[in-house]
Symmetry: C2
Subunit: 426 residues, 2 copies
């Protein structure tokens, strides 16, 4: 009865658990079907009793079976939790949208609580009329919706020093991808009037948050007028406190540090401020001790999320879904390659949907695994023609002193028993 | 200092709260700026103290200020909460994605708790080899991601008897829109082999859930082989318990009752079962007492979500964002019209993004409100050329005995003080 006698090249023959039922075992007799599996031969309690009613809680949480899928504070990473990080559990997710409840967050002086009534946004500096907006004011401007990824510049930063963290959540989880609703920053700047700024070509905006860190960053006017959003919703609902409630900046394709939370001020300036956050931090020290500056854009990158160290293969040889995600701050992802042998040979992965600008793309490679060990890698291509580099290529250009902007190809060593480990290949 | 002296047709002149600052009030002096608003003239506690650290909770919830944005059980609607409904708070959402935590749910015998380890899916009936899949088996099949809306056939059903419920959440909130990840049902049917079914043209599948209601429904084979998904994730993460964890059926564009939760069995049959859920329920009684049957598809529909009874206008005349959502089970939304005068005159709304098949579309109409009362309506068009009907047109065809499939144009009467009410226009 449990014999897995598939026909031809059917996937069925590989599935250890997919039990073929005897002929004649049809609908009415399911509960009585012969076979060793009590879950199909016996009536289950959940098929006869009543479940829970609605509204047990005002806002739903994941079922307790999924309690391991959680944003996670790694105690050793930072001195305290006030200036620290939560990682998206990307190993356990599929599709592209990140639920807000487990979406990456990073605070520099803790997540503040700021009511809409207490919220003010100032636009000042080289504008015709400096303005202060209340939250209610902002709700009266035309708004847009876009799905964008937000990645910390330090995502994968530990990899500069070698393969350190064993899990995609920790190597690549400082990223989320949500549908943001907000007002183009351009609209608010034009409301204040940019005549006073003269030639906009060399102008900047300086943006800062209402928290104690203020996290001020300079953004070239060209970007500010292009696609930056003053956002108040993510995935349809109000921003979570830890994502900047009630208003954050969205800077598509650029490093997450610039997506200022609890946005309180935008100043039009004739030069960059060169704040702490863009000098001693968020610059990339090269081999010769000098630093790359204004490294705003997040280059094309990808990672296999399953199998991965937190998502081992739990079955023997046969059909295996390899999946991961790819993204680029320079435009849409056009393709992803997957290698099973550490980059010697590459196969074209299937994209879950055509790539969209500055948004995550899900990819799949459906293989028949022969049960031997693999050196799993993925390699992203974006619409500019850029190809995600190897760790070696990146080090040749950038040295090993960097913290930020590590977009190298990631390698998981998958052993014959299905376990996976973070390794480097030469 | 607080004079709102905008220039030309600037939106600024209308904004009661957008205070223009005096010239020379720039960056360094924000905290000391002259003006009556202590929120910009005084240093706030959140700008000097530390906020909360990360990982205060393993999975984030909305900030407490948003506690009114919640799925909601209306006690009077059903005799008990076991067979009842939670409504998406659509009035408070923007964009298109519905967060799982507040996404519409409906149970017929309560939400059951079913662990992945205990999950089994049987494919039987007219198949070459009846099969039983474990959850781990399903994870080994190629999967897809699609954003689809799920709407209860009874959504807006109370409107047949006149304008009864005062709030978009209650008239139109039995809908959600999530990114589903799953396996095409076609894949699993082909795995079992459809040779035994002979000519597939007149064949059906009967699908049922593992809960006590079983909620069995018949689906024509043509649809089953087209776009139906056996889904295990929504918005990237595992389905919530109340949405059918660990596996539910996704039947794009068709009534929510067919999206069987806790899916346990798919039987290939040579006729429809004519179960309770497709005879005494989920059919539409016409004026002459006969019933429309197999009314699976959700026709094009739309609703203004703000302003609406739960989202009154809280400001005077001037710029006003009118927004809502539109959807169709027959294909993509191609346009939405908005009327301010109960359908006499229509304006073309701006779509947040081009319509996608069987997914919600967000629309906006940005107006300068003159402060007079409005009879707000929206009217959806889909790619088949179908136009959302008035309530009168719908009643002429369908009578007033129906419960299900009310896709009429909704009217909100917005008074000069900004309050909104559910009304009928002749």
């Amino acid at each position: 009865m449990t014999e897995n006698t598939g026909k031809g090249a059917s996937r069925r023959q590989f599935l250890a658990g997919a039990a073929a039922l005897g002929a004649g075992t049809v609908a009415a007799s399911v509960a009585k079907a012969a076979g060793p599996d009590p879950l199909i031969t016996e009536v289950q309690e959940w098929a006869t009793g009543l479940g829970d009613g609605v509204d047990a809680t005002p806002y739903g949480l994941p079922i307790h079976f999924e309690s391991d899928v959680r944003r996670r504070n790694v105690g050793w990473l930072t001195a305290d939790t006030i200036s620290s990080i939560n990682f998206t559990p990307i190993h356990a997710l599929d599709g592209t949208i990140t639920p807000a409840g487990c979406a990456f967050e990073r605070h520099h002086s803790g997540a503040i609580e700021l009511a809409k009534e207490d919220y003010r946004l100032m636009i000042n500096g080289l504008v015709d009329t400096p303005l202060v907006f209340t939250y209610a004011d902002l709700e009266r401007f035309p708004r847009e919706n876009h799905v964008y990824f937000c990645e910390c510049a330090a995502n994968t930063g530990m990899e500069w020093a070698g393969s350190q963290l064993n899990g995609a959540q920790f190597t690549h989880g400082m990223i989320h991808n949500m549908e943001y609703s907000g007002i183009p920053l351009r609209t608010l700047l034009e409301e204040a009037g940019l005549g006073a700024a003269g030639d906009l070509k060399d102008k900047w905006v300086y943006v800062e948050g209402a928290d104690a860190s203020s996290n001020g960053r300079s953004i070239p006017m060209e970007k500010a007028l292009d696609d930056v959003l003053v956002a108040f919703k993510a995935n349809g609902e109000a921003l979570r406190k830890e994502h900047g409630y009630p208003v954050r900046l969205v800077v598509p394709g650029w490093e997450g540090n610039m997506w200022v939370k609890w946005l309180r001020r935008v100043e039009v300036m004739d030069q960059a401020v060169e704040s702490r956050e863009e000098t001693s931090k968020y610059t990339d020290t090269l081999a010769d001790g000098t630093s790359r500056k204004w490294t705003w854009v997040m280059d094309a990158k990808s990672v296999v999320t399953s199998p991965s160290p937190q998502m081992p293969i739990k079955h023997g040889p046969g059909p295996l879904v390899i999946t991961g995600m790819a993204w680029s701050g320079r435009g849409a992802i056009t393709g992803v390659d997957v290698s099973l042998d550490g980059g010697k040979n590459w196969q074209k992965a299937r994209l879950g949907a055509p790539g969209a600008k500055n948004a995550l793309t899900r990819f799949y490679l459906d293989i028949v695994w022969d049960g031997s060990e693999m050196l799993l890698q993925s390699r992203a291509h974006d619409e500019t023609g850029y190809v995600q580099p190897t760790k070696k290529q990146l080090r040749e250009v950038r040295g090993e002193n960097s913290i930020y902007h590590n977009n190298c190809i990631q390698t998981w060593w998958v052993t014959a028993d299905g376990k996976a480990e973070n390794v480097e290949v030469s």
